[in-house]
Amino acid sequence: MTVRVETQPFDIGAETNAFAAACDGAGAIVTFTGIVRDVSGGLIAMEIEHYPGMTERALTAIRDEAVTRWSLGGALIIHRYGRLAPGEQIMMVATAAPHRADAFAAAEFLMDFLKSRAPFWKKEITAVGATWVDSKRSDEDALQRWQGADSSKG
């Protein structure tokens, strides 16, 4: 499965090895893992809500676009939801390509789209209450560089 939306923790090493084995012949594999971090201190947990059905559709579309755009040997997206503690993994992406430039670019592309086009919402739980995490203008701006002309060679 190249797109997974699930509650349970995943093993980065095992996932990367399985992905690499399935992308036989790739010269470069890039992985990115997002971790719950306690920015302001006092974070008890991060609750991640998603839109079942639309999430899988959106992630599959983003993944398929990356594979086409960079002629990838493979691409993997795992995103968790539910209640996560600081230090836990939230998500990972992996990309495989003949050369590293395409693998890095495709991984960045996946991350930029995941941030503001995949239907997930984060809520920070602290001792004083719970707050929905606001979207960032910079995340929306990050999409701009992938618009328009094919930038796969950029």
């Binding site: 997002g34 639309m54 239907p119 919402w121 929905w132 929306e140």
Partner: protein, 82 residues
């Protein structure tokens, strides 16, 4: 009849995750107008449309999108994945 689903603070403000709505609205904007007229909690949720996004049958849409043939409309704040 149309299924309307809410996520994140929109869900919390309205107080339910999903409902079936009898509507004569032909656009998303029309549906929002009908819901807003119902009760204060809807008016509160839809007070600032710039803070909301909409999906029609699980594809992102806009407030002037038509509801023709649409089975499910979702309202939620800007997404924060990754």
């Amino acid at each position: 009849m149309i299924d309307v689903v809410y996520f994140a603070w929109v869900r919390e403000r309205i107080g339910l995750p999903r409902e079936r709505v009898e509507t004569s609205a032909t656009s998303v904007a029309g549906l929002i107008e009908e819901l807003t007229a119902r009760e204060d909690r809807y008016a509160a949720a839809f007070a600032d449309l710039s803070a909301l996004r909409v999906a029609l049958d699980q594809e992102l849409g806009s407030f002037d999108s038509s509801l023709a043939g649409v089975r499910e409309v979702a309202f939620f704040p800007p997404m924060t994945g990754g």
